[in-house]
Symmetry: C2
Subunit: 690 residues, 2 copies
């Protein structure tokens, strides 16, 4: 009787048939098919592992169970998965043929087969199986009182082998917990390369036991210990992620030269105090850890043998911390000012027949190749390293584009045609606060360029870059996520998966689920708003933040000096994100209304306008006890003012003064307030002009 009841019940709850279109998978798998029926979760759900995997699959399966239990409140009986074939009759069976190596071109494919009573994951490697577990978590469905997986078959593999995220731990130091939770998030969307920018003008972030000066003089006490680095590399490997460290040379050299001024390129006037001590003092005063953002002249001296001695010693200490095959040496944004002004360096160029600074930099970079080879590492660098004598073994990291006055991805094509392997980051600079669509529409495989299969194969993939001039541990998650998930899909899924509306729909759920990994991208907003509002209830402030976006490109940090590395990043602009949620909804509402001026469509537009008028009133009240609200009042007033006029025009059908309307509209296009812009300007303009 019990059983009959159970089956009846099971058939009722599984009756809501799920279609493929309803699934919120990301990156979208290569092949998905959904059939009638479902696998209903119970507390007896267990996992069993067979085959010959690396032990990372046990950690992965245990974490999978905890996350699924956290979502469903099932109280699973199984606690830890610690070995092979522990529960032969488990409902979820995972088989991995062999252990994965954490390197490029590894087999990451998997098959996932959900039937009403059993789920099977088959993968060549454990990393493929980990990807399958993430897909399975994304498959989770529910009705009013149960959780289930739809009966389905998924076969999947990545389009590109390099699916990277770079985090800059130099500008603002990002502690271990920030790195770890972002590695978890990367794994959740099947990214597999963590590029760790560890050194820049603003700081040296690697504990050094031999070259201690780097830490003592150039870190402000903020750095990763060698043990922490090893732990993070292991943590990444357990999630199928390769770590690529970066030490940026010869430019971006302020931190290194603060520790070792003697290898800098700047000509120091040594006439004053020519004693050895006096000279040293003078040199030390030449370089300091940089507090601003931008491109600075401190550059290593390529003509000084000591430069290579020190770098060699540094690589000897740092390389063993990273078992991966690649080492990124930066090489970007060396403007050569100090080289040009240094007669010794000019002489060196002549002596070595180096026609210009590019060739000089190539000379410099080529000296690093054997230092890395010694540790079995291949050199990678930003696109500036690609000059005519550069070794073809180097990987070219393509980053320049419109911002630098170049065609997007120009260096990528040059690289593959020149015989280099390459990774694309132009188009994926998520620190610039551009909308999701702008990243999602960029494909690492260039269009309108004919490439041979060999050339195509040299395009390893792409990498999202998160520079941290304007990000802190409290805000960086909201700068990376959920946009990086859309980029991850670009790197993994078929090139035909490009529907932005479909992406947006799925991204809502994906972003929500990332929170279970400890990410603060959603939560941080609430805390920042409390600070700005001085702990007053702040619905109005939230409403305003949902139509404002941080200034784009590098315009928020004017000349790189407005915000220093210790300036407050607890402000209204830090609450706001690209793709402001209410702005997206309003844009849609306006578009619908202008297509069809039905009462229903009008009501939605008008409700937004009314909301903003009330918001402005509430914000004024709020501001009487919250100084940090003052800077946003002009934004709110501008939006309220035009909303009032548009109400008269649309709802009351009054004739509104056109020049007044245009004046008010243009005020909404201002970028002068609180480092944000109103993301509804274009839609307001359409309403004004309609």
């Amino acid at each position: 009787m019990k059983y009959i009841f159970f089956f009846l019940f099971a058939s009722i709850i599984s009756s809501a048939q799920v279609t493929k279109e309803q699934l919120n998978l990301m990156p979208w798998p290569q092949n998905v098919s959904v059939s009638q029926g479902s696998f209903v979760l119970t507390k007896n759900f267990k996992v069993n592992i067979t085959g010959a995997p690396n032990s990372r699959i046990f950690t992965g399966a245990t974490n999978f169970l905890r996350r699924l239990d956290g979502r469903t409140g099932m109280f699973f009986n199984q606690g830890f998965v610690t070995g092979l074939n522990e529960v032969p009759n488990a409902q979820l069976q995972i088989n991995c043929v062999r252990a994965a190596e954490i390197e490029l071109y590894e087999d990451e494919s998997y098959l996932l087969d959900v039937t009403p009573n059993k789920i099977t994951i088959s993968a060549t490697t454990d990393v493929g199986a980990l990807h399958a577990l993430e897909t399975l978590l994304q498959l989770l469905q529910n009705n009013s009182n149960s959780f289930y997986f739809p009966v389905s078959k998924i076969s999947d593999f990545p389009r590109f082998t390099w699916r990277g995220l770079m985090i800059d731990g130099a500008r603002h130091f990002m502690p271990v917990d920030v790195i770890k939770r972002n590695l978890d998030a990367m794994a959740a969307v099947k990214m597999n390369v963590f590029h760790w920018h560890l050194v820049d003008d603003q700081g040296w972030r690697i504990e050094m036991k031999k070259n201690k000066k780097l830490i003592e003089k150039a870190s402000d006490g903020l750095y990763y210990t060698q043990e922490e680095i090893k732990n993070i590399v292991k943590y990444a490997a357990d999630r199928g992620i390769l770590v690529v460290p970066e030490i940026d040379v010869p430019g971006h050299g302020s931190a290194i030269l603060t520790a070792y001024p003697e290898i800098g390129s700047k000509v120091v006037n040594l006439n004053v105090g020519s004693t050895e001590k006096g000279q040293q003092l003078k040199q030390e005063q030449t370089y300091t850890v940089e507090r601003n953002a931008g491109i600075f002249s401190p550059t290593l001296d390529p003509s000084n043998p000591k430069t290579y001695e020190i770098l060699s010693s540094i690589f000897d200490e740092v390389c063993p911390l990273f078992p991966g095959k690649f080492f990124h040496i930066g090489g970007d944004e060396n403007e050569g000012k100090d080289w040009d002004a240094n007669p010794k360096i000019q002489e060196f160029k002549k002596k070595h027949n180096l026609a210009n600074n590019h060739e000089l930099q190539t000379y410099f970079t080529m000296q690093l190749v054997p230092m890395l080879k010694k540790h079995n590492k291949e050199l990678m660098g930003w696109e500036e390293i690609m000059t005519k004598n550069m070794s073809k073994d180097a990987i070219i990291h393509s980053w320049k584009g419109a911002n630098e006055g170049l065609a997007a991805g120009k260096s990528l094509v040059e690289a593959v045609k020149g015989g280099y392997k390459t990774v694309l980051s132009n188009g994926y600079y998520i620190d610039l606060m551009y909308p999701i669509e702008s990243h999602y529409s960029v494909d690492p495989m260039p269009k309108n360029v004919v490439l041979t299969d060999e050339e195509k194969a040299r395009i390893l993939g792409g990498e999202a870059t998160m520079w941290s001039e304007l990000a802190t541990p409290a805000t960086i998650d909201s700068r990376i996520w959920p946009r990086a998930a859309a980029i991850a899909e670009r790197f993994w899924s078929d090139e035909k998966v490009t529907d932005i509306n479909n992406l947006r729909k799925r991204l809502k759920t994906v972003s929500f689920r990332l929170e279970e990994l400890g990410l603060l991208h959603l939560k941080s907003k609430e805390g920042l708003l409390r600070n700005i509002s001085n702990n007053q209830k702040s619905d109005a402030l939230l409403d305003l933040s949902n139509v404002c976006e941080p200034l784009k490109g590098y315009t928020r940090n004017n000349e790189g000096t407005e915000y220093k590395m210790y300036s407050p990043l607890t402000l209204f602009a830090d609450v706001c994100t690209p793709d402001a949620s209410d702005a997206l909804e309003f844009n849609q509402a306006v578009s619908n209304f202008l297509n069809n001026k039905s009462t229903d469509n009008q009501i939605i537009v008008i409700s937004f306008l009314n909301k903003w008028i009330k918001m402005d009133t509430d914000l004024k009240t709020l501001s009487t006890n919250a100084p940090l609200v003052q800077p946003v009042l002009p934004l709110s007033k501008n939006l309220s003012d035009i909303s009032q006029q548009l109400l008269l025009k649309i709802e009351k059908k009054q004739n509104v003064d056109v020049s007044l309307l245009n004046d008010l509209l243009e005020k909404c296009n201002s970028k002068e307030h609180a480092d944000v812009e109103l993301a509804v300007y274009n839609s307001l303009k359409k309403l004004v002009q309609a």
Copy 2:
């Protein structure tokens, strides 16, 4: 002209006079006086340090600047404070006579003097100065467009020298970032002892390089590395906090005995397979890492010399990680079952003239004294270690009370009368989910007992204990804060500071400000609600959580087996906290209404009742797509049902069936749903009976 304008402006904005009663200081200082006028913050605000402090003051002053800048958005010019007398004309002058030692009885006093143009902090030690900086941060005031400190003089010092917080990193492992942010919060409310519970039945959490088995077999891979421990000890010392580690023996021994079954007390039947290998296997099967909560029998064997060999080796490795003077060896809850059943141990007792298990445990504990003395450490233990032969050097940690069938603080009085120093934790068990008032009203100095001055002096202070059976890294902050801040006040402030309403008022601001330290106690709620509501808008769920409190005492975890260490703690009870905010407000509203049935008072009561009726409707809708909402529906329905009847009674003046009302009321007293209770029951009862 500019200057005249500035001065006019400054005088206007500083005109709102602040009174002492408006300040949200916690712990309340010993002496506070506020005068007319204020010190207005500008971006030129700087700090200067003189005297002979420990370098921790530089870190402290730098962190102070960043926090103040984060709150005010001032963009201070000063970035880092790194040495003495860097800015002789700075507005904030800090003088410390000497460096503090991180130990009991250190001078933690300070003087803080705010005048309109200058702020002076004078302290004997840098730790006193750090306390002053926290007080200064709490003094911050604002009007609509500026931030200022009221002109004031504060002289302050602690009432007790031991102001502790214990965190249990054994039941649920709490990673480094959890510990660090809680140390920051401790410092913010002037707590100075972090008691770190590192070992229990559920796990061994200290990396061991010599006794590796402890980590390999008894940690599930979750432990603090020795480097992490040293870093945390340093982090604590930089905030004036002493770390007291605890290894709990001889009871609570499951983890240790999983690694070393050969020193367990349980009689293992060795008849089967008497080969050495067979015996070993049998022993290994005897002990496993515990997954439930409760008191378990695995206990170290006090009659086995090997026990002391292993413990001595463990202390040799662990003691050097902790420079402080005290080592906590637990000693609690040893029920002696395995001792009684073991003939070898009984024989040992007879041989050593040990009358009972208490004396046997004292014998055991006394063997640890020299092991600790060797490392210059004094032994501390839970009150069970206090038996007639116990060394008078030991510190007695008093914890038992009503829950254990004893008078509260009984052992505290026995200890000081017996010549022991002691610390009180009974009354401060914050994991039990009791309201703030119940902790705040407990004083470490017993009332109604006559003690000599010498005896009083042996009461070192108190300690809040946060056991982690039902807390995870995501929820522990909300279990500790803000209640621990109220306890911190009890330990620091004058015994006459006891007004609970005044405390509650201040606590709102204190709790809000703790968020700037990265604490998740406020934010975590939002994320958990998103999970429960399945990412649907959840105002109704939030409303319900604001009148519900987690089941108190140990009733949530029935018999300790409902929740295992890997069970989901992402549920409705994990969102709720003691002192449910709307319940407090409703209680006040009901009390006002019953005193004076004015229309105004009635409106407030009725608005709550209406809110709960709507809430129930909304929750039903929400639940159709959120299985985790189902368990809370009965709570919401019960509250809605009685609210409807009370509306009829109060608003419509109808005669409502008394027995119906009482039935509905008693349903609101249920503890059967979602592991929470309705915190408005008592006030509802008053309305029913009115």
